[in-house]
């Protein structure tokens, strides 16, 4: 162990590195907390925590330069530092079992956060009383759905994430007899009827309802209670030529129909969907208040989970009592429409158990570690008490 490799090892096992990383972490959290005012909680997550480096523009230019390590970099180094220090300093043995458990728990906690950041997906599903749905919708992401609706029993859907449209990438999917070419994209926009928007520039849309609508780009919002509503113009190009350009936006609220190649097609931009392996029917939403007041006591949704085989079960979802099914967790999130509509948050996080396991390990480790110290202390006291009287001062 000499030379460069030794230097690297010394760097990664150093306790000074731990302290420096913890200090950087404190600064990062403080800075991110302040930045939440402007960026909102999701913006802060992406810029400060789910990033390797934090970039900022040089004043007066558009040039972005890294100015601070991001959450993944600090967390990653902390993880490597912890594991490396552990392997190089501690030896396995009963006496160190508490420290081992505590540190392994800490490593699991860091890994759990990393995996949550990578894997966790959040969706919402809103259900009116009696309504049945088999999908949830993303709180933030959108997609362009091109649907072959020819068959009377099912729809064949090609879903193109908004990020692909934003990157201006043409899509040639084996399931589509035409290419989808983005011509215009606004990450946030407002739509207006063209007749109400005097002097609006000509519409790029040549098909569907887009020609009647004018699109005004808006600044991207990061407020928690707001959502960016993108708009895009998509040209569909078949082997024999262009089929036309459609304006799509979640704000249009419904797909636009067209026919091509003897098949019926629908095109729409909508909140990104995640289809569930079952459907949910809202049987009843309850908004209980303390008698004689308007103070909410409980929100609950009684839903029926309808499996594909026709069987079903009823589940009551209420605050702090989510439903877990098929790797998804359904939380009571909100309600609307004068208590007639419930909004459930649907979370997929394969690593959701890791923090629980990590905390249990850390608690056990600390109990073991301090228990050993206590036992040793007790033994010393008993030893001192049993010593002959003349030995005492």
């Amino acid at each position: 162990m000499s030379g460069a490799l030794g230097l690297i090892r010394d760097f990664f096992v150093s306790l000074k590195l731990t302290v420096a990383l913890l200090a950087l972490g404190i600064v990062l959290i403080f800075w991110a907390t302040l930045a939440q005012t402007d960026l909102g909680v999701w913006g802060v997550h992406e810029k400060f925590f789910h990033s390797i480096l934090i970039f900022a523009a040089i004043p007066g230019t558009a040039l972005q330069v890294p100015i601070f390590p991001g959450g993944y970099l600090i967390g990653g180094f902390l993880l490597v530092n912890l594991v490396a220090a552990h392997l190089s300093r501690f030896r396995l043995g009963w006496k160190k079992a508490g420290i081992w458990l505590t540190h392994t728990g800490l490593i699991l906690l860091l890994l759990g956060e990393l995996l949550s950041g990578l894997w966790q997906e959040d969706f919402d599903t809103s259900l009116d009383g009696g309504q049945t749905k088999n999908y949830a919708e993303s709180e933030r992401y959108n997609e362009v759905a091109i649907t072959d609706a020819t068959d009377p029993k099912f729809d064949d859907v090609v879903a193109i994430p908004e990020s692909v449209i934003a990157a201006n990438e043409a899509v040639q999917h084996p399931r589509l007899p035409f290419r989808v070419v983005p011509r215009l994209y606004y990450p946030n926009a407002s739509l207006e009827m063209r007749r109400d928007a005097a002097g609006a520039p000509p519409s790029p849309a040549t098909q569907g309802m887009g020609s009647q609508i004018s699109v005004t780009p808006l600044a991207i919002t990061s407020k928690e209670e707001e959502r960016n509503i993108p708009a895009a113009s998509l040209e569909l190009i078949a082997p024999e030529g262009s089929l036309g350009t459609w304006l799509v936006s979640p704000d249009l609220g419904m797909p636009q129909h067209f026919s091509y190649g003897g098949r019926d097609w629908k095109i729409s931009m909508r909140f990104q969907r995640r289809y569930l392996p079952f459907s949910l029917t809202l049987l009843k939403f309850s908004h209980d208040i303390y008698p004689g007041t308007d103070i909410p006591k409980n929100f609950s949704s009684k839903v029926r989970v309808n499996a594909a085989d026709g069987s079903g079960r009823e589940v009551l979802i209420y605050m702090n009592n989510p439903m877990r099914s098929a790797g998804l967790t359904f939380y009571q999130k909100s309600f609307a429409n004068e208590d007639r509509t419930t909004v459930l948050q649907v979370v997929r996080n394969p690593s959701w158990l890791m923090p629980y396991i990590a905390c249990t390990m850390m608690a056990l480790g600390l109990v073991l570690q301090f228990g050993q110290h206590l036992a040793a202390f007790g033994r010393r006291r008993r030893g001192a008490a049993a010593a002959p009287a003349e030995a005492r001062p």
Partner: protein
């Protein structure tokens, strides 16, 4: 040292992975989905129903026409659907085989682009090419009805899968659209009824244009407050209220109005209203009240078990008692057909109040009788 290398490798891999979130085009097959327009809960789909754009645009900046309204009488076989912010009226028009057409009534300020633009928008919705100005007169029929110019159009998609039978009625400073959408077969069977329905369209009187916001208009939700709901005129009912009830001034919508005091100082509200026709039928009326206390709608088969019928002085009273699951709201009501109108006696209050007032309310119903000449 091997383990150290592994740690470094794993750490770097994790950092690299952290930078990318999968975003790729996907394909899947799902059971057939209806467009939001056909879903009962969706707001108006105005690309089909009217001149504005999409469903969720109804939340944004599309102004619907305010000001004087039109009124109409729908055939008894049509089922009134709740009006929305965009729709002045909304009906399900039944066809053969359980199919239902969708009739939307919308109004927008101005001429909405003029007749040719409106006609061509509807043609576009059934995949027909736009008409030239010169061809317009041959494609539409304009008939005078009750002092209004009603332009009727009937367009069918090639293949007959979808057909629009509509009427465009300029009125005051706005333009009204009556649009029935369905399959070609459905429209064929519903067309005579629709044309008769158009004959009932007329300008509303001032009284109907200022409904009380507290009035429980039977036809639809809050958005109906914008719509002129014709109240019933003609033969009426009379009743005797207990002395403990406080009479409130009747409004344009209410034939009678009382406040009922409860034990804990809370007050119940009794409204007496009347509307022409059967207002969608008994089931629709019962289900509307159930909806107001967050109960699911009943089916035809369940209706008989959920209501009580009373015979009283030649009248048939249907008694409905529906309480919200949490007891915060309860409706005790009676629906009384009288001649060609329907009367509604509706007591609203907390569960406790309605429970304590029920004997008095039932006794009160016993006093309801056709008004003497």
């Amino acid at each position: 040292m091997d383990s150290f290398r592994k740690v470094v490798t794993f750490g770097s891999l994790a950092l690299i992975l952290a930078g990318c979130r999968e975003s790729k085009v996907s394909f899947y097959r799902v059971p057939k989905e209806q467009d939001p327009t056909l879903a009962a809960s969706a707001p108006d789909n105005s690309a089909q129903a009217g001149p504005a754009a999409g469903g969720s645009m109804s939340d944004t900046a599309v102004p619907t026409a305010a000001g004087p309204s039109l009124t109409w009488s729908a055939p008894a076989t049509w089922t009134a659907k709740p009006a929305t912010a965009m729709r002045k009226g909304s009906y399900a028009v039944p066809g053969a085989g359980g199919e239902a057409g969708d009739l939307s009534i919308t109004a927008f300020p101005g001429a909405v682009g003029g007749l040719i633009a409106n006609v061509n928008r509807w043609r576009g919705q059934v995949q027909l090419p736009p008409l030239a100005d010169a061809d317009l007169a041959a494609a539409v029929t304009t008939v005078p009805e009750n002092g209004l110019q009603v332009t009727v159009v009937d367009f069918s998609a090639p293949g007959g899968a979808k057909r629009i039978l509509g009427a465009i009625v300029p009125f005051g400073d706005s333009c009204w659209f009556f649009k029935l959408t369905g399959s070609s077969a459905l429209i064929t069977s519903a067309k005579p009824g629709f044309l008769d329905f158009l004959k009932t369209i007329k300008a509303s009187g001032q009284a109907a244009a200022e409904p009380s916001s507290a009035a429980p208009a039977p036809a639809g939700g809050a958005a109906m407050a914008d719509t002129a709901v014709p109240t019933s005129s003609g033969a009426g009912l009379a009743w005797t209220a207990p002395s403990g009830w406080t009479a409130k001034p009747a409004s344009a919508m209410r034939k009678g109005s009382y406040a009922l005091a409860g034990a804990g100082g809370d007050a119940g509200d009794l409204s007496i209203t009347a509307f022409p026709g059967d207002v969608g039928g008994l089931l629709a009326n019962v289900n509307r009240w159930r909806g107001q206390v967050q109960l699911p709608p009943l089916g035809d088969a369940e209706l008989a078990g959920a209501v009580t019928s009373l015979s009283q002085g030649g009248l048939q009273l249907t008694l409905v008692d529906a309480a919200s699951p949490d007891g915060s709201k309860r409706i005790l009501g009676a629906i009384v057909p009288l001649g060609d109108s329907t009367w509604f006696f509706k007591l609203t209050g907390t569960d406790a109040l309605v429970a304590s007032s029920k004997p008095a309310f039932v006794a009160f119903l016993r006093t309801v009788r056709p008004a003497g000449p």
